[in-house]
Symmetry: C2
Subunit: 109 residues, 2 copies
DNA sequence: TACCGGTACATAGCAACACTGAATACCACC
DNA sequence: GGTGGTATTCAGTGTTGCTATGTACCGGTA
């Protein structure tokens, strides 16, 4: 979508992926496809995989390798308790920021 | 506020400052103080000044030096037509992203 | 005079993140 | 054997906000 979107995704994309995983476990390729479906047409695959590696290293998710019928084995990620806590923190941060920005849009101050 | 906020500000802080300037011209120190007032307690001064330099170089704002009663001269920034256009683009990007994130929060998919 | 604090701006170095581009691997089908 | 969809990985790049520090102007005060 452009440079603005790229910059805006920093910090929020992680929350988006965690929120997706909060609903049900998923693997990288699947998440990428879902995001494209949602209109995030230009999110690079590499971006998602790198993000998954990061949240795995921070112990926010559990990982399970599952054989695929067509292709190499999938790495299925599921949110663990620590991840859910982190996600809540994300929602708090998001609320704070988005409320203030919406205020600004309504010509506030 | 923490690392999450720092990352989330990337891409949005610029829009916030442009939105402030859309209401009325302002200078860096003033903007920093206003942001702190709004609860962005830990936005560094240097961050704002660097941001202002960037948007000036991209010709999104006009600058005027105004003598101050107490301290060095102020650099007063005002949004120009190009900046307003860029701000509209920001709002479009913001809307797209925030709508999808709100959707996610409501347990969507 | 000397010093402090508030005002006001600037900048070098750092860390984090998303993107680009390419590579690898597995499988089915023609 | 080649193509295309599935699935993951990684090195290199650019942008951004933060840290820390420095500079400069001014009024008050001891």
């Amino acid at each position: 979508m452009g440079k603005q979107m790229t910059e805006m995704l920093k910090g929020t994309l992680e929350g988006v992926v965690l929120a997706v995983l909060a609903e049900r476990p998923a693997y990288g390729y699947e998440i990428t496809a879902w995001l494209r479906d949602q209109g995030f047409s230009d999110i690079a695959e590499g971006t998602i995989y790198a993000l998954l590696v990061r949240i795995e290293q921070r112990r926010l998710v559990d990982v399970e390798k599952v054989p695929s019928e067509k292709g190499p084995p999938r790495k299925v990620y599921s949110l663990n308790p620590q991840g859910r806590e982190y996600l809540e923190e994300f929602w708090r941060t998001w609320s704070f920021l988005s409320e203030r920005i919406e205020q600004l849009r309504k010509g506030g101050r």
